[in-house]
Symmetry: D2
Subunit: 244 residues, 4 copies
């Protein structure tokens, strides 16, 4: 059983009628709906405006994989919470950053770069899989179209991914590393570009498949309690200092 | 001409007679002495207890490659300065973290991991070059010994390096990825493990050669003013939205 | 069910009494014994001196993961068979090269480098895990000793591994990237350094655990029939050539 | 002074009037013309139908960087010559594979994968630089257009590049990793996708700039005589076998 928490900023859905029309229960519940059909996943949701911003210690400390969607209110996430999320990734938790979460505090904290990019709303995207034997590509066709999606274009200012799985093509003329994996601490991090709040992207079966696969990929074998920096005795028994 | 700034915490030298005996002018000046013989390098030094912690804006903003040595006073470096250093790396500045700077704020900020490790003072190290055609290995033998050095042992909690150049062997029984390169933003980052304050490591010719090479490797072609995240028009002239 | 074939040169065991004393049924059967206890694995063995060198088409074409041990008779493996092994890796088969198989024809074919190294028989090795959350490290301690093993030392002339899991420390003074992963074609490749024919290395529980884990890691989701290089129509429906 | 040899198959130019119209002196001489203006480069050309296929030992053994263009006659390159080219890359020579040389024998030998891809002639390409601080990107704009170029599309079956510098966008709907770097042996390998024989791609200033930069990037510090696999004495003086 994998404990999955889907965190959503949840503000656009409250403030914009057009967004609410696309995701009437919020982006988090749309994702919860399709992940929730898998009985191996224990799915919870949380939003920014919940108590403790949706992630009190008991929730975070029982999460194996955390999904994160944010956009207009990145700055409202307390730095203290960001450090807690970061520390849990160090200890093994998986972290999946969705779309505009490229600029979220936890993702930038984990990358150590600006995560900037080019953007333009309202383009057509075709996602190409360049790594078909990767676990996140399981059952995903070599390419599929997203009729309307926000264009995110290179240069995407990220550390070179440990694995790039998808590259996006945009009709307007750009390309983007759209699905990328990194190993950070004992945890795994996946970034997936599609998912603008105004577009019904999370209803697309291939997108759902990718996010589902990513949850399994990011799930840890175990999560440790703490990363230490210990003084250690020499494993060599007869060690007697450097000059012998 | 490459503008090099050697930043040193500089506290051990003031507080410990035995350290002062090894580096009477401070670690920074020992490094400045051997780098300064190269007329292509414009070398400055700075210490924590200088005004503005040694890095007022005009110094930082005219630095191409910043070397960083710190240990006992990591927490005394203001977060504001850390952000400035980080931002300049994003814009292209090279950053070389030396020894105990694995736990310095700027290095941890750039890595996005804990940078923890195992340690024990007073071991003998042999550095092996596993990447002999790398620019930082130029003129460096396939291995050389450091008679007494602090043991740093795996697991070193860093992102998988973009390039590993040196692996350290310790007599007491450990190994360590001792010379590692990362590309972050438009800047280059090198970490080099040898250099404990109580040992005369920075007087060793091979160590000097490696640091000298690293300065050239990390030097940027140019440093940009800012990393933006711009809205852009479609480069395709006849682009007229996603549905056409 | 994963179809595992353990291929062994099998010559040392026949020609040397001391080797036969360590592996009376051959290295392949020692490995088959510990893998065979897992009912999810369908384990077969093959040796160089079997008909078709142990790998007739029907065996190779029903193998999901191929383990390879060779040393004194690398040149006796026909080039034609090497191409068949290589092609099946391209199509998804896992390939695990053991110890002196660093110089086997299939491994060199897959690496595209010389795979040379330094060596000396009869040293003590300590294996350090530098990637504890990697699937191949599951259940493996952070380090363990091999009382007597052939020293393999850097520089190991391999492409930079996609993932390095283990680094070996040798009492005599060397280090080695001892457990390395590469993605090649649709297949996965793992190299594991311990396993000299004169030493009872394959009886060590940690070594068995690592090889067992590696079989699961290398097992493909599926194996395709062929890798093509197809002419394709433009996916864009209204595409009408470059000048419009 | 860098010794550059531009090897071209040179058959299309002889057999097709339309190709000869684009490159009247052959692709090799077009490239030699723009590289030859740099006095630091000692540029030679060679074609398949020259004696010794253009690469007698004295030429190959005095080449620092070898450029390779081939397409219709890959099979006419003798395996013996391929091994010589491969060996020289192992010893440090740079190798730049152009366009259809993705299927050339030396490139496939160095990659260890099929190097297959999708293709279609006659598309419009836009090259995006995703690594602007890379030496090969020096002075190259963030994107530029190639009015007519052969489409090469993913999945490109290559080992994950050590560095990806350019990604191509095609009007017809595909993407491609168009400029990739690998470190192999002591040598450096660059693959650059644009350059179909029917299109005047090598006259484009940005393309010339990239190839020029790549020559400098691939040029070795030195080229060694041979890669050995030596028995070595233990560097530890008091080493007396594994059991002490």
């Amino acid at each position: 059983m994998i404990n999955v928490t889907i965190w959503n900023e949840g503000r656009h859905e409250k403030e914009s009628e057009s967004v609410a029309a696309v995701y009437p229960k919020g982006i988090h519940n749309c994702i919860a709906d399709f992940l929730g059909t898998d009985e191996e996943l224990n799915v919870r949701t949380a939003v920014l405006d919940d108590p403790d911003n949706g992630l009190p210690d008991d929730v975070l400390n029982s999460t194996d994989v955390l999904l994160w969607w944010g956009h207009m209110a990145h700055e409202c996430v307390p730095d203290e919470l960001v450090e807690k999320v970061y520390n849990r990734v160090m200890c093994g938790m998986g972290f999946i950053a969705l779309h505009s979460a490229h600029f979220s505090k936890p993702f930038k904290r984990l990358m150590g770069t600006t995560c900037s990019l080019k953007w333009r709303d309202g383009d057509r995207e075709r996602l190409w899989c360049i790594n078909p034997s990767h676990p996140i590509a399981k059952g995903v066709p070599e390419s599929f179209d997203i009729p309307v999606e926000e264009m995110y274009g290179e240069r995407f200012d990220i550390p070179a991914p440990d694995e790039t799985v998808f590259i996006g093509w945009f009709k307007g003329g750009e390309v983007f590393r759209s699905g990328n994996c990194w190993y950070r601490g004992l945890g795994k991090v996946f970034y997936f570009q599609p998912g603008h709040e105004e577009n019904p992207t999370y209803y697309i079966p291939e997108v759902q498949k990718i996010i589902h696969n990513a949850v399994y990929w990011a799930a840890p074998e175990k999560i440790v309690g703490e990363i230490e920096c210990p003084w250690v005795e020499a494993p060599e028994k007869h060690y007697d200092g450097p000059n012998k």
